[in-house]
Subunit: 288 residues, 2 copies
DNA sequence: TCCATTAATGCAAAATACGCATTAATAAAT
DNA sequence: ATTTATTAATGCGTATTTTGCATTAATGGA
C-alpha cells in the first residue's frame, strides 16, 4: 500500500470529484480512478459509492478518511524528526567532564551547542577518572573531556585547551605572588591535593612543581573533587594546587597564584561513532 | 512511500543481514538492497550504517524502527476496523419504534442482531408519529418501525408482523370475552385511546371497531404512549384498545380481550441507504 | 428525448521493480 | 602477509505496474 495512494484518496474524499481531484494532484482522471480502485481492492472494501454521476464516501471510507489524515500527519512528523536526527539537529549525547571546567569552558561550550542546535539533548555526567575510557568504549558516554592523553585504539582525542596551574590560598594567607614561595615556607604549608589518579598527567605536573622546589609536601588530605578542595582551603585547613579554570567558580576569600606549569584539556570520542550529533558537536569544538 | 518498503526495512532492522532478511521476506537480496536504498533516498536520510560486511541501524534508523512498528500496527488495526465497517459488522444504526412493541418484537429483534453482530452499536429512539418519515429522510434515524404504510418515494418498507387489537380492561371488569361486548354496554364505558395520529391506520382501525358496534365512544383521554394508557386502565380510569403486543409488557391486573381487527407493523428505511449495517439488519429482519 | 457530464476501461507507451550474475570490500583463517 | 569466505552493491535484460489518451457508458437535467 503506497502512501501516495492514500494521499490521492484523501484529496478525492475532499473534492468528491475525479476530474477536479486529478487536476489538483497532477495526474489524469484515469490514473486517479485506477489508484482508488487498487486501493479498494488492496483493502478489500469500498471507499466510495459512485456511479457515472456522483461520488460519495461509504461509512468505511469516511472512517478511513478521518483515521488516515491523523496517521499521515503523524508519519510526516516522524519523518521530519528522523531527518533532524540524521542531520544531528536532534538527539541525545552524553558528555563527561572534569569538575574543574564546570564553571569555565563547559558553560561556554554548552551555550555554543544549544545556540547552534537548540533541539539537542545533552546529558552531563561525572565519571571517575579510572572509568572514563571504559564508559566511553561501552557507550555509556559519547564524549569525555580529560586532562590526560590516551593511547587507546579506537578512541580519538584532540587538545581543547591549556590550563595554568595555580596555588590556591585564603586571602589572608602570607603568599601573595609567585615570588613569595620558597622551599622553606612551602615546607611549612599543609597541602590539599587531588587524588593521585584524578588525571594522572595532572598529578605528575603537581609532583614536578614540588620537585622544582625540591621538597616533599605535607599532604593533609586528598580529594577527587575540586569544589571540596576549594571549600577546605577557604576554611583555612590548608592550601591547594588547582587548574586556574577554578578561578571562574564563585570563590570569594581565595587567592589564585598562577604557577608556571600547564595542564592540557583533551576531548575524546569513539573513532567509529558516526552519530551525526557527535559530528556536529565536534565541528563546533574545532571552531573553538 | 510504499508500506511494503517499510515492512522490508523492519525485517532488515531485526536481522541486520541482507541475505537472511531477503530470504525471510521472499525477495532477492538485490531487490531488498534497492528497496532500502530507495526508502533512504525518499526520506533523505540514512537508515543503516553498512559496509560489505556489517549492517547497523543509524540513530535515525533506530528511531524510525520504533515509530514505524507502532504506526504500522495502528494502520493494520484501522484497516481491519474499516473492513468490519464494510461488512456491516461494525458501525452505528439508529432505530425508531413504537412503544407498543418494546416488550415483544423489539427485544427478540435486538437479541437477534447483537447475537449475529456483537460489535454493532444500536441507538433506539422514540420519535413522534408525525416526525418519523422526516427524521428518516434527514438521516436522523436509519430505520423506523411504524404501524402505517407510507407512499413516500425513496422510502422502502415491508410488513414485519401483524398485531391483533385487544380491548384492555381491569381484571375485575365485567367484560371477560368478546361475547360480553354490545353496543349498549360499550356506550357506558369510558375509553382511553391513542392520539388520533399515533399511526393513522391504527387509529382508523379503532374507528372501524366503534363503527361495527355503531356508536361513538366516550373518550375520556387521549395519550400517545401505550404505557401511560395501560397505567390508567389499571387504575380503573377507563378501558382501552391496544395492539396485543402489549400483552408482553409486565401488566398484572389487566385483561386483554382480542378483537377481530388487525394492525400491521412495517419496517421502513431509505431506499438509497447502502450502509452495510442496514443491509445486514434487513437480512436478519427478512429471515424473521 | 436529447444533451452535458463524468467515472470506468482498452490499449500502447513509459516507468518501475525484479532476478541473475558479478563485483568489490572486508573480516577471518592460514 | 596472503588467501579465503562472506556479503552488500550494481549492471543488465526481463517482467510487472502505472500512466495518459481516447473512448465508452451511465446518469441527471433541460
Amino acid at each position: 500500500m503506497d502512501l501516495q495512494r492514500i494521499k490521492y484518496f484523501l484529496a478525492l474524499s475532499e473534492e468528491l470529484h475525479y476530474w477536479k481531484t486529478a487536476e489538483k494532484v497532477n495526474i489524469t482522471q484515469s490514473a486517479l480512478s485506477r489508484q482508488i480502485q487498487s486501493l479498494e481492492s488492496e483493502l478489500g472494501l469500498q471507499l466510495f459509492e459512485r456511479n457515472k454521476r456522483n461520488v460519495k464516501l461509504t461509512p468505511a471510507g469516511q472512517f478511513l478518511k478521518e483515521k488516515w489524515e491523523v496517521e499521515l500527519s503523524e508519519l510526516e512528523y516522524i519523518h521530519q524528526f528522523a531527518k533532524q536526527l540524521h542531520l544531528g539537529e536532534r538527539g541525545t549525547i552524553t558528555i563527561a567532564h572534569p569538575d574543574s571546567i564546570s564553571a569555565s569552558i563547559m558553560p561556554d561550550l554548552l551555550a555554543k551547542i544549544t545556540d547552534a542546535f537548540p533541539q539537542l539533548q545533552i546529558k552531563l555526567v561525572q565519571v571517575l577518572y579510572e572509568n572514563q575510557l571504559e564508559f566511553l568504549k561501552n557507550y555509556k558516554i559519547d564524549l569525555v573531556i580529560t586532562r590526560d592523553t590516551n593511547s587507546e585504539p579506537g578512541i580519538k582525542s584532540i587538545k581543547l585547551y591549556s590550563d595554568h596551574l595555580a596555588l590556591v590560598v585564603p586571602l589572608d594567607h602570607p603568599f601573595k605572588a609567585l615570588g613569595d614561595l620558597s622551599a622553606e615556607n612551602l615546607k611549612q604549608q599543609k597541602f590539599i591535593l587531588p587524588s593521585k589518579d584524578e588525571g594522572s598527567s595532572y598529578s605528575e605536573i603537581i609532583q614536578a612543581f614540588f620537585k622544582s622546589y625540591d621538597f616533599v609536601p605535607d599532604v593533609f588530605l586528598h580529594s577527587e573533587f575540586g569544589s571540596t578542595i576549594i571549600a577546605l582551603v577557604r576554611k583555612g585547613l590548608g592550601i591547594a594546587i588547582l587548574p586556574d579554570s577554578y578561578m571562574h567558580h564563585q570563590s570569594p576569600g581565595l587567592r589564585f597564584i598562577p604557577l608556571p606549569f600547564k595542564t592540557d584539556l583533551l576531548i575524546n570520542w569513539r573513532a567509529d561513532d558516526h552519530n551525526p550529533v557527535l559530528a556536529n558537536i565536534l565541528k563546533l569544538v574545532f571552531e573553538y
